[in-house]
Structure formats: C-alpha cells, structure tokens
C-alpha cells in the first residue's frame, strides 16, 4: 500500500504557484510548461490554484516584508508531504533586488526550500528539471 502511494505521489504532483513579486519573467516561463509544446500534464502535473490541494509550492520572485506573511501562510496551508521549489535567481537569492530596503532576500529566508532552479528568467526546461528533482525528494519522504 505504501509503495502504491509513493508511486502515485511521483505520478501526480499538483503545483501551486506563488509569485512573491517577481518581474513576471519566471511566471511566464512557468506557465509555458503547461502549453502544448512542453505539456507537463503528461506527467500528471497540474497547476492547481489551491494550496490545500497542492503537493509542490513553486515560488518565483524575491520575498519582501509585505508578502512574507502570505508565503508562510500558503506553506502552512499545504498538507504534508510537500516540497518547495524556488524558481529563478530572485527566488533563490534575491537576485538583482538583493539590497533593496524592503527585500528580505531569497525565499529560503522564510520557508525551507528543497530545490533551487537558477536562471533569469529560468527556462521551461530548467523548471521541468527542477520539478523532476523535487519528485525525487518527494519519493524519499516517508
């Protein structure tokens, strides 16, 4: 039974996408993964709007003092097991916004991050790679 559930987790990761105020470059690339060209639904990946239904939290953009609370709230609303993917230079480290007065830095300042996808903007191929790495981590969660 446990093996079946683990296999199902890998085959059906539902993503909730949260934009912490990025320039929208990474968001567009993330949505490009859903288009017929990349079609991530063939791996069972769905872009779901509701954190309570999701398994993967995909975050773009640097976290700042206003949306830190929202990001934390979204993370806590997701039932376990959950994996966090930071997409783009800003989400990983704060990017070019790193020394802005309102920016805290990468999202790992607020929530634990499992996979970092670098790039400005991150390419769809890189994002899919990152999500596959996240699935490896998901499979190891008991």
């Amino acid at each position: 039974m446990m093996g079946l559930i683990t296999k199902s987790r890998i085959k059906s990761p539902w993503i909730v996408h949260y934009c912490c105020g990025s320039c929208n470059g990474c968001d567009i690339e993330l949505l490009a993964c859903l288009t017929p060209l990349y079609d991530v639904e063939r791996f069972g990946i769905l872009n779901i709007g509701n954190p309570k239904h999701a398994d993967l939290l995909v975050v773009t953009g640097p976290v700042n003092k206003r949306n830190e609370r929202v990001l934390l709230n979204l993370y806590h609303q997701m039932p376990e097991p959950r994996v966090v993917v930071a997409v783009g230079a800003c989400a990983c480290t704060g990017g070019i916004f790193y020394n802005c007065y309102n920016v805290l830095g990468g999202i790992d300042k607020v929530i634990p991050v499992d996979v970092y996808v670098p790039g400005c903007a991150a390419r769809p191929e890189a994002i899919i790679d990152g999500i596959v790495m996240a699935l490896d981590k998901l499979a190891k969660i008991k």
Partner: protein, 291 residues
C-alpha cells in the same frame, strides 16, 4: 426486489469506481488530444486518488466531513438503486439530497470561495432538477411505472418516442458532469473556477472521497442515459459513450457561461423540450392520459 437485482446492484457498487475512474482518465486524455497535447495516461485518476489518500489529514471543520460522507454514501445508494432497477423518482430524490450535502459542506466553512461555490451549486441544482424530474415523468407516461425495471419490460426504445426529453437530459448532463459551459460552482481538471469552489476547503483523503463520488456519479448519469435504449442494452451503452464524447467536445469548444444563462437555457430549452415532447406523444400516439 429479487436476488438477481441485489447481485447486480452490489456488483455495480464495486465496479462503478473502476469504470468511472477509467472514463475520467479517458476524458483527460481526449481533452489533451483535442488541445494538441499528449496528455496524462488513462489511469492518471487512480494515481491522483491514491496520492490524495496518502496525504496528512487537514480538517477545517468536522461538520464538513459529515456532509462529504453523506455525499458519497447517498450517491452510492443511488447507484445501487439504479442498477438494482428500483424507482427512478426515488433515485433522483436521493441524488438531489447527495448534491445538497455538497452544498451544506461548502456552507459549513467560512471560506468565501466555498460559500460562493455553494451558492452557485444551488443554482445548478435549481437548473437540472426540474429536467431530471420531468424526464422521469415523461418516462412514466410512456412505460406506466417509475420503476427502472419497467423500462426494461417496455418493448421499444424510449429514444424513439422521447427524443426531445433526451436532448433535455443532455443539458442536465452537462451541468451534472461540471463541464463547460456550466462549470460555475466547481470545475474539473485544473480549471480553477473559484479556486475550485465547493471543494476549496477539502484536502487529502476527503478530496479523494469527492473524487470517488464523482466516479460513481459519472457511472450513474451514463447509466441513466443508457436507459433510453434499454433493449438491447449494448446499444444503450454505446449511446451513453457517444453522449460522453459529445460532452467532451462541448466542454472543449465552449466558454464558461454565467448562472443566468444556465438557468434560462435549462428552464426554457430543457423544460420546454420535455413539455413539447409530452404534448407530442399525446397528440401523435394519444397514450398519455390513459394511465
């Protein structure tokens, strides 16, 4: 109710989730192909189901859990009764109460998405319930009984004398299957109407229960469509599958409509078709009021 009916009913309870889950997988695959994508494997729904079962429990209110179990069990009862060839009218009433359970569950939490979803679900029930009940009445006028077994004993296919009722049932079907253009209370797949409307507050295994109920519901609805050509039944099954394919096409070419449109289409066209059909069999065959 004979032993054979019990057997068929219980077999349907076991097999319906398998058939329903597979059909919804086919739905996702065909939808993807229509959009020029490859799409998930046909058993994807079962992966989704087992994944949801394995997630940790996160409960917003305990009241919602009672309603969601009610939704599942009442739908299962309706499936059992339809396959055990019982009273069509009672089946529709049970189905209506199952739908009401979903609404009460949505109202028992304070999330605005869930609340608006609940309101819209009521609008949907207001749209399709008259069609289903009047369809049962039209079938009664033809066969002289509300029992499903009466349809099987009725010699000729119902579709030949009730074609407009059939069209009206198709309208109700689109609403009941939560397909575009009427997926306003909660949508299928990853279409995110109202952050999934009435399902907003359910997660993990309770969402899996909802998924399971959908499989039962799908089988129930398609079985009802198949009744329109009950003798021989294999034509009815083909008819139901053809109708399902038609629903997928409509789902992919239609945009979502507002609830006012849904209400006016289902009441004007749906109820109107059924009334015209009842008048038609009265005038053409003159066998309506000879009860």
């Amino acid at each position: 109710m004979s032993g054979f009916d019990w057997l068929i009913g219980l077999a349907a309870l076991v097999l319906a989730p398998l058939v329903g889950g597979f059909l919804r997988g086919v739905d996702r695959k065909l939808t993807a192909r229509m959009q020029g994508r490859i799409g998930p494997p046909v058993w994807q729904q079962f992966y989704d189901f087992f994944k949801l079962v394995g997630k940790t429990r996160a409960v917003t209110t305990k009241g919602a859990l009672v309603w969601i179990w009610g939704y599942l069990l009442l739908t299962m009862l309706a499936v059992f009764m339809l396959f055990a060839r019982q009273d069509l009218l009672i089946i529709f009433f049970i189905l209506a109460f199952a739908g009401a359970c979903l609404v009460f569950g949505a109202f028992s939490v304070r999330s605005p998405y869930s609340q608006i979803g609940g309101h819209r679900e009521i609008m949907q029930m207001l749209s399709y319930e008259p069609i289903l009940l009047l369809a049962a009445v039209a079938i009664f006028l033809q066969t002289g009984t509300f029992k499903v077994s009466g349809i099987f004993e009725h010699g000729e296919p119902l579709l030949l004398t009730l074609p407009l009722v059939f069209v009206a049932v198709l309208i109700a079907l689109t609403i009941k299957l939560r397909k575009s253009p009427f997926d306003i209370s909660a949508s299928e797949h990853a279409h995110q109407e109202l952050v999934r409307g009435v399902y907003t507050e359910y997660s993990g295994r309770h969402l899996a229960l909802i998924e399971l109920t959908h499989w039962y519901e799908l089988v129930l609805i398609l079985a009802f469509v198949a009744l329109f050509w009950a003798q021989p039944l294999w034509i009815g099954v083909l008819l139901a599958l053809a109708v399902y394919f038609l629903e997928l096409i409509v789902d992919n070419v239609e945009a979502r409509l507002q609830w006012g449109w849904m209400l006016s289409i289902s009441w004007a066209a749906g109820v109107g078709f059924i009334l015209v059909n009842i008048l038609m069999i009265e005038l053409l065959f003159g066998n309506v009021l000879r009860l």
